[in-house]
């Protein structure tokens, strides 16, 4: 229960930072995706029983705070999560560089899946060009934030728990 509350508190802080604090200091293109980074972190280091519902929940939460399409990010998060989870047993997940690399690849994968889904199921023409424009700054910001996450001392405790 304590772990759940801590996790919920962390997610709340991330959401507030991303939606209300960062826009004051960063231009739109340079927004990191803190929820995606958390999802990747959980996929690499948390057990399935926790991380699977968390990944889907984080995706749904992102949908609630972005665009009009509920379920879009939930789906793409789930796909990326399952791929990461399948690979995580074969990866040295304690490596900080791996988190940066995985976050970068997950960012690209999520954007690709979202583009495909939007193209097929929505009338948001031209979204691909917007995503393409935002891709590089978004990717760099995510990689940068992931590199910061990797040096948080809190991660050591997570490793120990695991």
């Amino acid at each position: 229960m304590t772990g759940f509350l801590k996790g919920a508190g962390l997610v709340l802080v991330l959401v507030l930072v991303q939606t209300s604090v960062l826009p004051l200091y960063l231009t739109t293109l340079y927004k990191p995706d803190l929820l995606l980074i958390l999802m990747v972190f959980l996929a690499l280091r948390a057990p399935v029983s926790t991380s699977l519902p968390a990944a889907y929940g984080l995706g749904l939460l992102k949908d609630c705070l972005s665009g009009l399409y509920l379920g879009l990010n939930a789906f793409s998060f789930l796909i990326v999560y399952l791929v990461l989870k399948a690979l995580s047993d074969r990866l040295y997940v304690q490596n900080a560089l791996l988190l940066v690399l995985t976050v970068s690849l997950s960012t690209l994968a999520t954007m690709l899946i979202n583009t495909v889904l939007l193209t097929i199921f929505s009338e948001a023409n031209g979204i691909f060009s917007s995503m393409l424009t935002a891709m590089l700054p978004h990717l760099l910001m995510n990689a940068f934030v992931a590199s910061l996450v990797a040096v948080f001392p809190e991660l050591g405790r997570v490793r120990a728990v695991k």
Binding site: V15, Q18, T19, S20, P23, T27, T28, L29, Y30, K31, D33, L35, K62, C64, L65, S66, G67, L68, S122, E123, A124, N125, G126, I127, S129, S130, M131, T133, A134, P137, H138
Partner: protein, 274 residues
């Protein structure tokens, strides 16, 4: 004779002294403004000493004022620094209040021009992704807001409400790809649909190639569709491109409202027609 002097020496000396004093005084009465030998000697001797003394007195004063009397200066300095900080904060707050007042005055002016009831709302969040364009405002269904209601700022159209909760709503900005507003060129009355492009610009679509559209033309809502009232400012034409083929022209619009720094908006409680 000698005995006489010995016997009355004291009175004699006193009388002589008094006489000398009286004579000295009387002799100087005629030259009161000139210094005599004694005065010149005394004053001449004392002057340099007095000079040093007065400097020393100043030095002592300075020592007193600059060092000994500065015991409480640190505390006073700290207090003044604190007061300066408070004054700076107050100044910044006053500036902020002034700017807020200006924005709200503009919003109030806009409110007077809208016939339908309106609700003022504060922007409390932005879209979490860079490719969708939406905002979160602090008013929801409890304030009478429903999905599809027009949202305005002092300069013009912002977008329309979507995903309304009890105490918050999302505003789909007119620059979002999913946004579409029936519009027309104010000057030539050429009609079209303003669609978001996702990059802080919009395009006027379905405007016939032969229609008169020029750079700088004002684009306003046409009132068709039942969401936005007629004549609300949307933006101005930034670029017009007419290809050799095709029945439509490509018109780029720069929105009248800069959504990047939007803080307050006005939601028009206009029930959209289904």
């Amino acid at each position: 004779m000698l005995d006489f002097f010995r016997k009355y020496s004291l009175p004699i000396l006193v009388v002589a002294g008094l006489l000398i004093a009286l004579i000295t005084y009387s002799l100087n009465l005629s030259r009161t403004r000139q210094a005599n030998l004694l005065e010149r000697s005394v004053n001449g001797t004392l002057a340099p000493i007095q000079k040093q003394a007065i400097h020393s007195g100043g030095l002592l004063g300075r020592i007193w004022h600059d060092y000994i009397d500065l015991v409480d200066v640190k505390q006073e300095n700290d207090r003044l620094k604190g007061e300066l900080k408070q004054l700076n904060s107050a100044l910044a707050a006053a500036g902020e209040a002034l700017r807020e007042n200006e924005r709200l005055t503009h919003l109030l002016d806009l409110r007077k021009t809208v016939k339908e009831p309106t609700v003022a709302a504060m922007v409390i969040g932005e879209d979490i992704t860079p490719w969708f364009r939406s905002l979160t405002i602090d008013r929801g269904s409890e304030s009478g807001i429903r999905e599809g209601m027009p949202v305005l700022a002092a300069n013009g159209v912002v977008g329309q409400t979507a995903k309304v909760t009890a105490n918050s709503s999302r505003v789909l900005l007119l620059t979002d790809h999913a946004s579409g507003i029936a519009a027309m060129i104010q000057r030539s009355r050429a009609r079209g649909v303003v669609k978001g492009r996702g990059d802080n610009l919009c395009s006027l679509e379905f405007t016939m190639r032969g229609e008169d559209v020029q750079v700088g033309d004002q684009v306003v809502s046409s009132g068709i569709g039942g969401i936005f009232a007629k004549g609300l400012p949307i933006g101005e034409v930034a670029m017009v491109k007419k290809g050799e083929y095709g029945i439509f022209q490509t018109v780029t619009i720069r929105p009248a409202v800069s959504t990047a720094h939007l803080e307050e908006v006005l939601v028009v409680l206009r029930v959209p027609r289904d």
